[in-house]
């Protein structure tokens, strides 16, 4: 077992985890404040990736694309909130599941309509190209380190936003008591739109950042969406801290599990059987983890105070 390989996978896990955090923080915020399950959160991730790819292709600048992803996803989020989501607060979860499932169909097919069925490609910006040599002499891509950095910044920013600003105070009030906040004379409709757009922008940013690692295509948001749900359920729905912890746990367990499980099994069974069984088990690993955590702590690791 080589240490550099393990270190590389650990970093990959962290990068994956911070990307999941960008998705999960919005999802958990929207649930915590508005009580809404948003299956269409993955569509906003896709919108961000497409906005970034399109603008980067037109202007040649990844950074303008990144700005476009934030703005595009936030705008799409605000629009959807005003037109549809607003009518779903206070409905039961079943209605929310169906309506946001319908939104996925609309977003996916709409994007295919606009951009066609072929995947788009997004280049890593030259500034972040290249690799850094890790101790133990394995090169590691700077871009992935940058994603980790961006995730850390967003986590810090969200913490400051929620604990130090007026908007954050209102969000906390909204989580504690939805009627209270209306009684305080806060314009609750605008607050909800802002929270939704903020969540959407973070999802869009995640989409754009990942778009440069993979291809940008319709349906790219769905696997990530499911993982983001796993993250917030593990962390405790409504808790940003839980989302951060859950995202890093899921990212690291998933990535290192794929490396370590086949290795671990190969000491018991033949290498080829170990490879296939290990891969099968590794792909199930985080779901097993989630089931275990929920079986022991039915409301997640950091249950939110309200609801």
């Amino acid at each position: 077992m080589q240490i550099p390989l393990l270190l590389e996978q650990l970093l990959n896990g962290l990068q994956f985890g911070f990307m999941l955090f960008l998705m999960a923080s919005g999802l958990t915020l929207i649930f915590g404040v508005m009580g809404l399950i948003n299956l269409a959160h993955g569509s906003l991730y896709m919108v961000g990736a497409f906005a970034c790819a399109a603008v980067a292709a037109a202007t040649g600048s990844f950074w303008l694309g990144l700005v476009a992803s934030l703005a595009g996803a936030a705008a799409a989020g605000a629009l959807v909130e005003v037109l549809v989501i607003r009518r779903l607060y206070g409905r039961d979860h079943l209605d929310q599941v169906l309506a946001t499932f319908a939104l996925i169909l609309i977003f996916s097919e709409g994007t295919r309509w606009l951009f066609g069925s072929f995947p788009l490609y997004l280049d890593i910006p030259p500034l972040l190209g290249g690799a850094l040599t890790l101790p133990g002499s394995a090169p590691y891509p700077i871009y992935r380190l940058a994603i980790i950095g961006a995730g850390l910044l967003v986590a810090l920013g969200l913490y400051l936003l929620i604990s130090r600003t007026r908007l954050g105070m209102r969000i906390r009030a909204g989580e504690a008591d939805r009627e209270m906040i209306a009684a305080l004379g806060i314009d609750i409709r605008t607050l909800y739109t802002i929270v939704f757009a903020l969540g959407a922008a973070l999802a869009g940013m995640a989409g754009a950042l990942v778009g440069a690692l993979q291809s940008v295509q319709v349906g790219m948001g769905e696997p990530v969406l499911i993982l983001a749900f796993v993250v917030i359920v593990i962390g405790g729905i409504g808790s940003i801290r839980g989302a951060l912890f859950g995202a890093l746990l899921v990212g690291v367990v998933d990535t290192t599990g794929r490396l370590l499980l086949p290795l671990a099994l190969s000491s018991f069974i033949s290498p080829s059987a170990a490879a296939s069984t290990g891969a099968a088990l590794a792909s199930m690993l985080i779901y097993v983890l989630m089931a275990l955590i929920l079986a022991l702590r039915p409301r997640g690791l950091f249950p939110a105070a309200a609801g």
């Binding site: 399950i37 009518r87 209605d95 599941v97 169909l105 609309i106 749900f229 796993v230």
Partner: protein
């Protein structure tokens, strides 16, 4: 009450008319469409036991649909290749045997899955059922023995004694027969003591416990029954396509089953049938007009949630009443 009875009568007529019409047109495509409708409706009748009667929003019923499908596929392939499944345990091409096995296996897997999931409620329940289904989905994708990601084909449809299932029409009738049996079961269940307890668990589980019935046992039993019905639908679906793949286990399918029920009317006897009928016709009708049919399907579904609460049956017959 009376209007829902009228609606149910109408739905029985529609159910009978669809194969008759399909036969009249003698178009195998329509027969396949009608068979698909019956199978999806059957799967949704299964989910309706848990979701409609018991209020258990399972977002993981694709797991049972896929399990049924893989039971059919795996048993058929073993029978075809004459390899025993385990020493002394041969495969089979007999539908009734496959049905029983798929129901038992689906229920058997639903028991531990339900036992853990039922510790949670609300969104957590939705998400943990989804997670279990994903677990099985990824297992199927990465387990190479039965085709992995590519799925598993079997070349000859399984048989039912006295019926030529290779012909579209007899197979269609087999599927409608099972759907009718499931509807009859659901109807009896709805008015049975178990059904009363299950509906009580949905409305107010503390009240159920306070009359001396443990909600957990009732819900777990309902979850397993529900899984068994959806499982047998999966076996039929595999037989329809003579192919089974991880897509039968995907979360999209779980979502679709929920859509069918909400579209038709949650907890209504004929809700799944009405939902599947409209869904299949929309898919086919819109698909004939525009390549972008999913876009418009999305809009229509959105319209139903926002403006037609209670689904099609709700529009027609108003809120359900329990005499």
């Amino acid at each position: 009450m009376a209007r829902e009875t009228v609606f149910n009568g109408l739905m029985i007529l529609v159910l009978a008319a669809i194969p008759a019409a399909a036969l009249l047109f003698e178009e195998p495509f329509y027969l396949t469409l009608a068979t698909r409708l019956a199978i999806l409706a059957l799967a949704a009748v299964g989910l309706n036991v848990a979701l409609g009667l018991g209020g258990l929003v399972s977002f993981g019923h694709a797991a049972f649909f896929g399990i049924g499908g893989y039971v059919a596929g795996i048993l058929a392939v073993h029978a075809f290749n004459m390899e025993p499944l385990l020493p002394g345990l041969p495969g089979t091409k007999s539908m009734p045997v496959i049905w029983v096995v798929s129901m038992l296996l689906a229920a058997l897997i639903a028991l531990p899955m339900g036992a853990i999931s039922l510790r949670t409620s609300g969104v957590y329940f939705i998400m943990i059922t989804l997670a279990f289904a994903q677990m099985i989905y990824y297992f199927a994708i990465s387990w190479p023995a039965y085709g992995g990601e590519d799925g598993l084909s079997f070349y000859v449809r399984n048989g039912f004694p006295g019926v030529n299932t290779l012909q579209p029409l007899p197979f269609l009738l087999v599927c409608y027969g099972l759907l009718a049996a499931a509807l009859l079961f659901f109807w009896r269940l709805q008015h049975s003591p178990f059904g009363a307890a299950l509906q009580a668990a949905r409305q107010n589980d503390v009240r159920l416990a306070a009359v001396g019935i443990r909600p957990f046992k009732i819900r777990l039993t309902a979850f397993a029954l529900s899984a068994a019905i959806t499982g047998v639908a999966g076996a039929l679906f595999a037989d329809l396509n003579r192919f089974v793949s991880p897509s039968m286990l995907s979360w999209h399918l779980s979502g679709e089953l929920i859509v069918l029920i909400i579209l038709g009317g949650v907890g209504r006897l004929f809700g799944p049938v009405a939902g599947a009928t409209v869904y299949v016709f929309l898919e086919y009708g819109l698909g004939g007009i525009t390549e972008r049919w999913q876009f418009f399907l999305g809009l229509i579904l959105l319209g139903v949630v926002l403006f037609a609460r209670g689904g099609i049956i709700g529009l027609f017959a108003g809120r359900p009443r329990h005499g």
